[in-house]
Symmetry: C3
Subunit: 436 residues, 3 copies
């Protein structure tokens, strides 16, 4: 089965990406992006460190040679080589000997989840620190500690990867994810993996109206840099977009709406998740991931967020416990399917016009309808025909009809194509309500 | 009591109409219409067979002399004379001898309801067939069968009956039902019966603003033919309309909305059924009865559907079990009342304007309000006065006020007339929000 | 604690106002208003008796010297000096001897609440009557009664008190209550007490954009007279207003909306009560108190009503049982707080504009945001910053942001001021959506 293959390939890529110490800018990010390039031919956008992007400045690259603490028993603890979460992200170089009581000012734990190493960063304030599980923290022997933080903060570039599948028109669908978190699974490797396999899937579609745009960079600063470069373009071309994040666990789907909550992106994602049991729709809120930047008031780009268990809604979030056990490759494969469905539905979401507007057509003569029938059984297909003929007045697009009828978009689309062949409907002049 | 009389008369007409073998076009339809003409002076619109009406063609007339099957035991089975549902509607003539195994290709049953003869038709594909209860079907002896389908399909006319009660204005209220089903009770004799008695009721009203239009023909093709003749007229004059169907059983009322769900027809029917316990409102869907044609995108006529248990929502639907046991003459009489109430409310739905707009009027001096009163008891009538005075600014019509206040339309209407007599309100220049 | 003092002062004023026999016009009203003037410098608007105000006429002043009935046992009963509810309000003078059976035509009781003396008036129809508890009524001995109703109905003036706290602009907030009920506590002393202490509270605010207007008169006729004088002015200047009534009992808050239900008055009151547990919002209805006049169609002033247990919703309403036991000075003090919060929120409800519209600001550099942080803990303050920056596009005012975010108005206001200091937001040119 195709999906077994998909699941196996997802797992293989996951295993290769997992150990790499990613951060905003530096070798870990680049190495990860190169692995994804086996599937997606990213163009690299380089933003030199120190560049101003809107209100922000591109930070220095961060590289870690080694980092650990070593107490009176000479045991290496919080060793970056063992788990890259031990070191606070962007820790500045430090080498010294501190008494435990002094060292503790630089140590971070989660007392309520004593086995978990928290994930922390200090991107924009020069400092250093270590994160330990609270169990490890409590077992630290008294005494003097050697602290080794052998890192560099150096000039270079921040990279954002961009790949485009051009369509027949310039109307765009954006898929965005981020790649700056070290070894954590649901947040964030799920997002880049689904994005890469979605690209692969869509690249096999030979003919599509919309242009598909894929973007992957470090969270927040990467998206701000990207919007500095492409924001005006997207304001003119973007029909809908989604941030993919936390989309690999076993929870049902969650869709977080765009700022206004009534865009094409919302209508399409809500239609698709409505047919998946347990799915939820959340209104926009300005905390979260890169949708914050896309939905800032100067852009108001129609970008929602596709997730399973949202950030902060699962206990392992932003800790060392967000590992391979939290995700499922079956669920990741299903996430690829959902995203492909949404992207293709957007591409197919046109308004049709019934060629017979006055009363119903006499369907039997078009070869699309059974003549002799028990009126007791009304099948889904017949209802799709009736809804399409009734609502196709050039004002309702397929998503409107899907919402009013409750019929899945795909069935409406297939039926519309058959009705088009039979001469019963034609495409409306304006393909898409949101197209200017 | 008047209603006892009404119930008895409903039953008498039901019993006369019941045995007649009705179909789209032919003697059964005409005979049935003639019986209803004892109450309603229908004008007959004749559509010659073969005429093109929009995408449809008027079918031939169908007449049955006799039809049955006779097996090795020489027993006549599925005899049209015993139950006119035995023969598939519009069966083409056939006479021959077939082995049971061959005959079975022409037999139809409902295995899940073994005592019920299904109702089937083949209007537009020339074929023949019989419907049996599954119990009868299973008891058929092996062997050769003589098959007699002595029918004719012949040129003639399809008839639609139309009756009009002219009002002071050309604004119209449409009441529509259909008369093409053979011996079934809730679907469809309930609809024509309620329509006819509603006509009788409204014809006694001497003065009404709106013109009431009553239409009865065969389902679907009759309405399509009628709209071919009257569609443009109705687009200019119709304020609201209703299809009456399945309106004689013991279930609570169901109102199926018009295509847009927010027309005058919807507002008035919803107000009326809201005061009947258990009533439901359904959004429009393009399956069902003649509302499909009225609500087609080329007409978008504001026609809803008044029912009790909707088609497909009661198990006897479209079988021989939809008989006199399924309906109740008490409930049919109540349906006449509801329809009369809706029609009259539509006629009375005007916008009033308070003559005293600034603060409340000093009601005592108008003789419409008690002077000395315990403030503890606020009766419905007082509330009707206050709502009318407060909301009558020429923008809210009585249906708006009924919706906002929860007060039944009839009480508001009566109160408004009293206030008009007292000089406290006047009619707004434009009588009706929907009037152009 | 300040509130202890507030509660004690509320109680002291309550005890002084309680015994005074108030009515529409006369010495009781004036004496009560003079007591409130110790806190509020009311200007007195005089309306001479007999003056026409819209559809109404200012009634005569009513004064009671004494009133009682005395039966065969020579016991004085229903003595106005003992409880001013015994006498029907505006009873015309009468002196005579009647047999009990004749007297009973002038007696009023509430059989269902046998201990309660009902509150009744006959303002506009000359008559006399007594109200008794049903227990007293049933104990009346048979025989002849002397009836003494020593009252006067005389020319004079009806008074409405008005006080204004001018703001930087002419946009107005109206606080309205009434002072015509004799010895009852929740309805009505709660309203005037909260109004007076609210005035005191707001008069200490040195700088406010809006002008606060306080009005107190007799119910209905007072407000009609006031609108005759000030209605046109208020149509041009009023942004929001509230009638205060039944606001001293132990129930949760109730807000009754304005006529349209979507005014600034509604948005602000609903936001404030939404953070008080158990609060309810009622749609407008044209029965009730002075909001009836403010919301009449000729004015449509955006005036809602702030209550705890609404009139008719507590059993003691309009009886002698609506006494000091029904109200609570703790709750009255809390009502003052709520009203002050609403008035100040209205004053502070401006639309802000983010100075950084494209992507989020880099908050760390503005000193309003922690740099190094565990992403796990998102505090209310951070969310207030993010919501303000995201929604401040000049179209959403603070009440919109409060509604969308669920964050209390006060926190948003304080945060907005900090962001303004940091240069991150500025005030929108038009301060208020409702300002013309």
């Amino acid at each position: 089965m195709g999906n077994e293959n998909l699941e196996a390939r997802l797992q293989r890529y996951f295993d290769r990406l997992w150990p790499i110490p990613r951060t905003l800018a530096g070798p870990g990010f680049r190495e990860s992006l190169q692995i994804l390039e086996e599937m997606v031919p990213f163009e690299w956008l380089h933003f030199p460190t120190g560049t101003q992007v809107f209100d922000w400045t591109i930070p220095l690259e961060w590289n870690v040679r080694e980092a650990f603490i070593q107490g009176p028993d000479r045991v290496r603890r919080a060793d970056f080589k063992v788990n890259n979460l031990y070191l606070v992200g962007y820790s500045a170089p430090f080498r010294g000997r501190l008494h435990l009581s002094e060292l503790k000012k630089h140590l971070h734990t989660i007392p309520e989840i004593p086995q978990a190493i928290p994930y922390m960063t200090s991107y924009y304030k020069e400092s250093w620190g270590f994160c330990l599980s609270h169990a490890e923290f409590e077992a630290l022997p008294e005494g003097e500690y050697d602290v080794i933080v052998d890192t560099t903060l150096s000039v270079g570039t921040l990279v954002v990867g961009e790949a485009i599948l051009p369509g027949e028109t310039e109307r765009e669908i954006l898929i965005s994810s981020y790649l700056c978190h070290p070894s954590m699974a649901n947040n964030e490797l799920s997002g880049p993996l689904v994005l890469a396999f979605l690209y692969e899937r869509l690249s096999k579609i030979t003919k599509h109206r919309c242009t598909f745009r894929f973007v992957i960079g470090p969270e927040t600063i990467g998206t701000i840099a990207y919007l500095h470069e492409r924001g005006e373009h997207l304001r003119n071309t973007l029909d809908a977009g989604y941030v993919l994040t936390c989309i690999g666990d076993r929870g049902p789907f969650t869709y977080k709406q765009t700022r206004s909550g009534n865009t094409l992106a919302d209508r399409c994602a809500e239609e698709a998740v409505s047919h998946r049991s347990g799915s939820k729709v959340m209104p926009f809120f300005p905390n979260g991931s890169d949708e914050r930047q896309y939905n800032s008031p100067g852009f108001k780009l129609p970008v929602g967020s596709l997730m399973r268990s949202p950030y902060n809604h699962y206990p392992e979030y932003h800790t060392s416990l967000d590992n391979k056990d939290v995700i499922s490759f079956v669920h990741l494969a299903e996430s690829v399917e959902l995203c492909a469905e949404i992207a293709l539905n957007l591409d197919r979401n046109v308004a049709w016009v019934s060629n017979i507007q006055q009363c119903e057509p006499f369907l039997s003569k078009y070869g699309v309808f059974p003549t002799s029938h028990s009126v007791r059984s009304i099948d889904d297909w017949k209802m799709a025909v009736l809804w399409l003929m009734n609502l196709s007045d050039g004002k309702n697009d397929l998503l409107d009809i899907a919402k009013k009828s409750g019929i899945p978009f795909a069935l409406l689309h297939q039926t519309a194509l058959k009705l088009e062949q039979a001469g019963l409907v034609r495409r409306a002049a304006s393909l898409n309500k949101e197209t200017p």
